[in-house]
């Protein structure tokens, strides 16, 4: 009897598949047939930041002739970029997309995004050189920088106070605090070492003075296992070995719980953390305080970045001029930046907008720290990044998560994982035909 049902279900399933396929075919042909029709220009924009809808709504209100439709990607980071690279061949990409700085070279190399100099003109009066260096390659501009995300140390002030601890000014102090915290309560940690966030580790390496990629002409040098990066890996490897730092990855249900219930009392993160924390540890609002990232030598104020994004126009866009205007408005006009600050908790990359009144109030989650954005402005000025992100940072990042996860799992030295990353990156660049050494 059940067999009969199964058979019927199979037939129904087949019918449904056929119907869906037909529908999908109809749908896509409709999408692509839209050309220069009358009515407003329609742009699509993919972005995963919470609050981005307010920015888009404001643009749509001001520009009845260029209407932007915001979509959320099915996954963040490389899930999106890899989709963009794949869909580029099919010609189905949205008009504009957010691109984190480290991923832009890969998207350019794959011709997913196009130069926008003709549409946005000279950006050098709006942005400083460091920000433009993240979006300009071979003299062309491929995106408009949105924000600067200096790395920041967040800690649970209530618990630090109880133990008589202050925000660590150096990594030595961080290690000492880690010990105090863990000794006092063996279930508590000052933080975790995350094997799923290569950008996080890259930011720490930047602070230490690493330069994973350098380019001159079309020659590349890759140095992921250089001395500064090794120093960072050995430092964390030591803390993990002593059991003072948890080896759990970020963003898992486990991590959310640990962040929320006070198992993890510190987070080496970045400027955007208050935008994420409500979803991670909602019960801890008002208990976290942001402090400058600990330094390697006392007094050194250099910090790396974790994240930070630009908005770019895709090669698939039929309206690149309008799309470029939209991203320029969003990231360099006072009107766009104000909403980014208020709704997306961004710290703007555009120079003039770093003085906006909106920055005088902290993000809601940090209401206990009124001068939050003053600290961000300070730290944004101390940022040091790599000279350039490699055209295959995706390979490097994937290799990071595999190699570091394996090292944490097997309790082997983290610096050996760097060798693996280095080999994977150089091997891939050579295979693609880049002139790479390292």
């Amino acid at each position: 009897m059940l067999g009969g049902y199964l058979k019927k279900a199979a037939i129904l399933g087949l019918a449904a598949t056929t119907a869906l396929t037909t529908l999908a075919a109809c749908g896509s042909s409709k999408d692509s047939s839209d050309g220069k029709s009358d009515g407003p220009v329609k742009l699509t924009f993919v972005n995963w930041d919470g609050g981005m809808k307010d920015v888009v709504d404001e643009w749509n209100r001001q520009n009845p002739n260029v209407q932007v439709e915001l979509t959320k990607p099915s996954g963040t980071g490389y899930t999106l970029y890899n989709k963009l690279i794949t869909n580029n061949r099919a010609g189905t990409n949205p008009d504009t997309t957010e691109v984190e700085y480290q991923a832009l070279p890969a998207l350019i190399a794959n011709k997913v995004v196009v130069p926008i100099d003709d549409y946005v003109g000279d950006l050098s009066s709006d942005f400083d050189k460091a920000s433009l260096a993240q979006v300009q390659f071979d003299g062309k501009t491929y995106g408009v920088p949105q924000n600067i995300c200096p790395m920041i140390f967040f800690y649970r002030k209530d618990i630090f106070d109880q133990l008589g601890l202050k925000a660590p000014a150096t990594w030595d102090e961080y290690a000492a605090a880690a010990e105090t915290i863990h000794k006092h309560n063996p279930k508590q940690f000052i933080g975790n070492f995350t094997a799923v966030d290569a950008g996080w580790f890259a930011g720490l390496a930047q602070q230490a003075g690493a330069n994973w990629w350098t380019a001159s002409g079309s020659k590349w040098t890759v140095a992921i296992d250089d001395a500064p990066t090794r120093k960072v890996a050995d430092y964390w490897g030591d803390l993990i070995q002593k059991g003072l730092v948890s080896p759990e990855p970020n963003w898992s249900p486990q991590w959310n719980t640990d962040m929320n219930n006070g198992t993890l009392v510190g987070w080496v993160s970045a400027q955007w953390a208050p935008n994420q924390l409500p979803g991670i540890a909602k019960d801890t609002a008002g208990k976290w305080v942001a402090a400058p990232l600990p330094a390697w030598t006392p007094g050194d104020q250099t910090v790396g970045i974790w994240g930070g994004e630009s908005e770019a126009v895709t090669a698939n866009s039929k309206h690149p001029a309008e799309a470029a205007k939209f991203v320029k408005w969003m990231n360099s006009s006072a009107g766009g930046a104000k909403i980014l600050i208020e709704k997306v908790s961004a710290f703007p990359a555009s120079k003039a907008n770093q003085q906006l009144d909106a920055l005088r109030t902290p993000p809601p989650f940090m209401s206990n720290q009124p001068d939050y954005n003053t600290l961000m402005a300070q730290q944004a000025g101390n940022v040091r990044t790599f000279q350039i992100w490699g055209p295959n940072a995706n390979v490097t990042f994937d290799s990071y998560s595999n190699a570091f996860a394996a090292a944490l799992q097997r309790k082997t030295p983290l610096s050996a994982a760097l060798t693996e990353m280095q080999q994977a990156t150089v091997g891939d660049m050579k295979q693609r035909g880049f002139d790479a050494t390292g």
Binding site: L6, L14, P253, G433
Partner: protein, 331 residues
């Protein structure tokens, strides 16, 4: 009666009914009488017509992409000029380079080993529990059969990704209701059991239904006869039902083996929460990583073509072996 008629037809479809229940085993020698010539072989296009949609879809969405993938596997990307190589990049002929690279990569073989390990745990467990549940449900004294059957079948209806997310919560110490704070479910050895467990629950229900359906279609007279002869419920299950179930179990085993070779959803979903699982943990994850993470669709195509060859070979061997075993048990 109708079951017998089906069996006597010209082409008994394997799987829908166990060949083991051949008519010649029935008392009274009824079967030969029904072995009439197939009714009027009129020339009609109806079968072709009915098959056409399936064949068309198969050609369009399986064969065509497959052929394209094979074509892609012989190419490789060649960057163009400029710092980022974005001036006129193109794909060039690579010969067997992609295949050589995959075969020479020890991580590829490790991923196969890991998959086999999960299969080695998961497939026997699936068959054992599916058979056990089917026999229990078919037992004479079984109560609440409908609800129990649904309960066992239900996990099959949960999409693999969702099931893996749920199991992720169940395994992680902070959220585990099953002692995750004492047992490390993502330990280097335990992780194989943890992944196999998710996969087993995903397919157990389906296999149980297949086996149960077979059991229900067996002639009841056999069991009644055995009961009259004084056989206990357990004896009927082990001595009569199990041998008759063997051909279907063969089929189910082959299906499970193929399913195991396609392991992807479960480890992929668990990867971000477990340091023990890499992005190349099993072969299909490696294909995905090559093609859509490392952006080397050609290497991915070569690896997947190698996997297809291996899968077909493994299936053929398994089928052959299991058929031989079941034929022996039939005798």
């Amino acid at each position: 009666m109708s079951a017998i008629e089906d069996q006597a037809g010209p082409r008994p479809r394997p799987g829908t009914l166990p060949p083991g229940v051949g008519p010649r085993r029935l008392p009274g020698g009824l079967a030969p009488a029904f072995r009439s010539r197939p009714r009027g072989r009129r020339r009609t296009l109806l079968p072709q017509f009915l098959l056409a949609p399936a064949v068309l879809l198969f050609l369009l969405f399986t064969v065509a992409p497959g052929v394209y993938a094979i074509y892609l596997s012989f190419l490789k990307p060649q960057i163009g000029g400029g710092l980022l190589g974005n001036e006129n990049p193109k794909d060039v002929f690579a010969g067997l380079e992609n295949y050589r690279a995959t075969l020479a990569d020890s991580e590829f073989w490790h991923s196969i080993l890991r998959m086999l390990l999960v299969a080695g745990i998961g497939v026997p467990a699936t068959i054992f529990f599916a058979t056990l549940f089917a026999l229990c449900l078919d037992a004479k004294r079984a109560r609440l059969v409908g609800i129990a059957r649904l309960a066992i079948f239900l996990p099959y209806a949960v999409p693999g990704v969702i099931a893996s997310l749920l199991w992720g919560f169940i395994y992680l110490p902070a959220t585990s209701p099953i002692g995750g704070d004492h047992i490390d479910y993502f330990g280097s050895g335990q992780v194989f059991f943890s992944v196999a467990n998710v996969a087993v629950w995903g397919v157990l229900g389906f296999n149980m239904v297949v086996l149960y359906t077979t059991l229900r279609s067996l002639p009841r007279e056999l069991f009644e006869a055995a009961e009259i002869d004084g056989a206990s419920e357990l004896q009927i299950a082990l001595r009569i039902k199990l041998p008759l179930l063997a051909p279907t179990m063969t089929l189910v085993t082959v299906f499970s083996l193929i399913g195991a070779l396609q392991l992807f959803n479960e480890p992929t979903t668990l990867k971000p929460i477990a340091n023990a699982i890499s992005s190349t943990w099993v072969p299909l994850m490696r294909v995905y990583t090559d093609a859509f993470v490392n952006n080397d669709i050609h290497r991915g195509a070569a690896t997947s073509f190698l996997l297809i060859i291996m899968t077909v070979a493994a299936t053929a061997v398994a089928n052959l072996l299991l058929r031989r075993i079941s034929r022996r048990s039939e005798r």
